[in-house]
């Protein structure tokens, strides 16, 4: 019930976002120059969708003749063979489709591994969304270069607007937590019910509309604790990965991630015990995830310049700036850096 209402509400806002996004696209270059920080965040977010889309495109178009056919086939097989087979099939399609470049291959492997633990999610259109977001987080962007320019552009623009809205909403993401949970649950559940051609559209809108949701969920399903691609900057995800219930796995992980970034924000600096303000709480100077206030960080830089959390020397300025921009989303930082480099 709740999932229906949410998706229904989310569709118009997606269209809206699209319109806005087209306008934005015109002056995007100016915007990039105007505000470096905004641009970075947007780029990060847009890469997320672009990859989602590209990956989806490949999955649907690459393996079988058309989207509908592919999905219907997967669906049929899923219903006839049960979940184990479905998983393997899904993995196959993941492995088959990209194979264009080493990065895309690894990302699809990651996605496949993901889908193997996500029982309910590995269905039809929704399945591609879940696995593709797994791929998107693993730091590969080659798909969005191959996967169809126009669509990608849309996704990019959508996400710019989403990013704007996000920046506005970021101060109070606490209120979004319940909805984000229901969204991710909806994302997981609904693919079973939606089998016709509208499924893809539906999945898309679901991906785009919940503001932080797809990001947050993608986060939690991006890496497993033992992945080689998993950045060391993910401190607590291992706990979440070991949640016993696979159905609630990703939704729970996503929410926990969101709430974690929310909860850790208002706490005090572990060094000086002063309360962290907004800037401080979005400041992540070290990949180990140890947070401290800017004041203490500066003092430490003047002394031995090692992170109190891991005792490694603090990185030089560029990464620092990057960290301060991205704030709580440090998980994406590595992937993003790489993809930005490959892109340009």
């Amino acid at each position: 019930m709740s999932s229906d209402s949410i998706t229904a509400a989310s569709v118009p806002s997606a269209a809206n976002a699209r319109d806005l996004g087209k306008k934005k696209r015109a002056n995007r270059s100016a915007k990039l120059k105007q505000c470096k920080l905004d641009a970075r965040r947007e780029q990060w977010l847009s890469q997320g969708t672009a990859k989602n889309r590209g990956f989806k495109e490949e999955q649907n178009g690459g393996v079988q003749c058309g989207k509908g056919g592919n999905r219907a086939l997967e669906n049929l097989e899923m219903s006839s063979r049960g979940e184990d087979m479905d998983r393997s099939i899904h993995q196959d399609s993941d492995l088959d489709s990209p194979s264009n470049s080493p990065t895309s291959a690894t990302s699809s492997v990651l996605g496949g591994a993901d889908s193997s633990t996500n029982f309910t999610g590995s269905g039809s259109s929704g399945s591609s969304s879940s696995s593709s977001s797994g791929g998107c987080c693993s730091g590969c962007i080659t798909e969005d270069e191959e996967g169809g320019g126009e669509d990608d552009g849309d996704g990019l623009d959508d996400w710019e607007t989403m990013a704007d809205a996000l920046a506005a909403d970021e101060d109070k993401p606490q209120g979004q937590n319940p909805s984000s949970e229901s969204e991710s649950v909806a994302q997981v559940v609904s693919p079973r019910q939606v089998t016709d051609g509208t499924g893809l559209r539906d999945g898309d809108s679901k991906l785009e509309c919940p503001k932080m949701v797809s990001g947050a969920c993608g986060n939690s399903r991006a890496w497993r604790p033992d992945d080689a691609f998993r950045p060391r900057s993910l401190p607590n995800l291992s706990k979440q990965q070991s949640l016993p219930n696979p159905d609630r796995h990703y939704g729970g992980g996503g929410v926990a991630w969101a709430s974690k970034s929310v909860v850790s924000a208002p706490t005090s600096c572990p060094i000086c015990c002063e309360d962290l303000d907004g800037t401080d709480s979005s400041f992540l100077p070290c990949l180990c995830g140890f947070r401290l206030c800017l004041f203490c960080h500066k003092r430490i830089l003047e002394e031995d310049a090692r992170c109190p959390g891991c005792r490694k020397p603090y990185e030089t300025d560029p990464i620092e700036a990057e960290a301060s921009v991205n704030g709580g989303s440090l998980t994406f930082r590595l992937a993003r850096c790489c993809s930005m480099i490959t892109r340009s």
Partner: protein
């Protein structure tokens, strides 16, 4: 100055709250000076120090927590990494491996761990270090046990 004070106050509250949680450590702040602390730690079990209660003195610098606290044993102890006369402790985290993320409480834990696992290769007490390095575990243990009985255990009778 202010930062260290705030931090120490926070640690003080933390200590009050965790008193029950860690029965091996009793961390007390000086009544008049928050930069002076004393700690009573129990000798770890299955070591020569078992049953003893050792007193530590903390002198916290104003740059704390960027600078480590100065810790020394007030109770005499026979341990390769503790100076027998001054009680000075040779422990990396009190020197170059210090991290501001450590607290006085965690320093106490580290010292307890050091008591259980002496490092004879960087000795402050050469006699003790030599005993261990020459493989005379029994000699080290009996010496440590004797001094623990003499200095760290309540006198009987």
């Amino acid at each position: 100055m202010q930062a260290s004070r705030a931090r120490l106050f926070k640690e003080y509250k933390e200590v009050q709250r965790e008193k029950v949680a860690d029965p091996d450590i009793q961390l007390v702040c000086d009544d008049s000076n928050i930069f002076k602390w004393t700690a009573l730690i129990k000798g770890p079990s299955e070591t020569p120090y078992e049953g003893g209660i050792f007193q530590l003195a903390f002198a916290v610098p104003e740059q704390y927590p960027l600078q480590p606290p100065q810790v020394r044993f007030l109770t005499k102890i026979f341990h390769p990494n503790v100076h027998f006369k001054t009680g000075e402790i040779c422990l990396d985290i009190l020197k170059n491996a210090w991290s501001p993320a450590w607290t006085l409480q965690s320093v106490c834990r580290a010292i307890i761990a050091l008591m259980a696992h002496p490092e004879p290769d960087s000795p402050l007490n050469c006699d003790s270090g030599n005993l261990l390095r020459s493989g005379d575990i029994r000699g080290y243990q009996s010496m440590a046990r004797m001094y623990a009985r003499l200095a760290a255990m309540p006198k009987k009778g």
